[in-house]
C-alpha cells in the first residue's frame, strides 16, 4: 500500500486511519494530525487558496521523510496524504497518521513527519484575500520546529 500520496481530491480521514490499523492486533496506538485551511492569515480574511507543488520531487521528499521516521522509531505504519490545487477554508490540507505498539513512538513520529514536511516538501501556498492574491511566507516557527529533531 502506498504510504504517501499527493492528490487534488479530498481524502477520507476515517478511511486513512482505518486502513492503517486494519487487521494488526499488535497496534496499540494511532496518532494522527490533520492540517486544515484557516480562513484567516496574518490578520486578513482568506477566501481561497491554491497549493502548488513540484511533481516528482514532492513524492520523493515525502517518501524520504517517512523513511526517516521509520528508521528513528518502532512503527507499524505511516500514511501521509497532501492535497494540491484549489482549497477553501475548513478543507483538510494534509493528514499524517502513524501506528505503533505504544503511544510515545506514534506521537513523536507523527510530529516529526509534519515538522519535516513543513520545511522539506516542495509545496507552496498562494492565498486570495480581498486585496488580491499573495504567496504565503514561510514561518520561522516551522524552521524552529524542524530544528528540534536534528541529530
Amino acid at each position: 500500500m502506498n504510504r504517501i500520496k499527493v492528490q487534488t481530491e479530498p481524502f477520507d480521514i476515517a478511511q486513512v486511519q482505518d486502513e492503517l490499523r486494519a487487521d494488526n492486533p499488535a497496534i496499540g496506538a494511532v496518532v494522527s494530525f490533520v492540517g486544515l485551511m484557516r480562513d484567516m492569515n496574518e490578520g486578513d480574511q482568506v477566501a481561497t487558496m491554491t497549493l502548488e507543488h513540484y511533481p516528482g520531487m514532492t513524492e520523493k521528499a515525502l517518501e524520504e521523510i517517512v523513511q526517516e521516521a521509520d528508521e528513528r522509531w518502532e512503527l507499524m505504519g505511516i500514511r501521509v496524504i497532501h492535497r494540491v490545487g484549489e482549497l477553501n477554508p475548513l478543507d483538510p490540507i494534509v493528514i499524517v497518521a502513524v501506528a505503533s505498539a505504544h503511544r510515545g513512538e506514534a506521537f513523536q513520529a507523527c510530529e516529526f513527519v509534519i515538522d519535516y514536511l513543513k520545511t522539506r516538501a516542495p509545496f507552496w501556498k498562494k492565498e486570495k484575500t480581498a486585496d488580491g492574491e499573495r504567496w504565503v511566507d514561510a514561518r520561522h516557527s516551522d524552521s524552529d520546529a524542524e530544528a528540534r529533531w536534528k541529530r
Binding site: G35, L51, E52, H53, Y54, G56, M57, K60, A61, H82, I93, V94, I114, L117, K118, T119, R120, A121, P122, F123, W124, K125, K126, W135, V136, D137, A138, R139, D142
Partner: protein, 83 residues
Amino acid sequence: MIKVLYFARLREQLEMASEEMDSTGLDSVNSVVASLKDRGGIWADVFGGAQPVLMAVNQEMVDGDTAVSDGDEVAFFPPVTGG
C-alpha cells in the same frame, strides 16, 4: 543540456516555468545561478541574494556547491509552505 525549473513566486517573477540550458561551463548549482543572474533585470533581482531561493538537483534539496552535469534537472523555488 540541463533542465531548469522555477516554482511558485519565482516562476511568476521570471514568467518562466522551465527551460533547457546548455551545460557548457556549468559545473555547479552556483555556476547556474551566476549565469542566470547575468541575464540582468528581474533575473539579477531574483538571483541576487536579496530573496531566499532554495535549490534542488534531480529532485533533492541541495546547496550551491553541488555539482551539476549534462542531463540533470535543476530547480529553484522559494522556502516551502506546505502542510
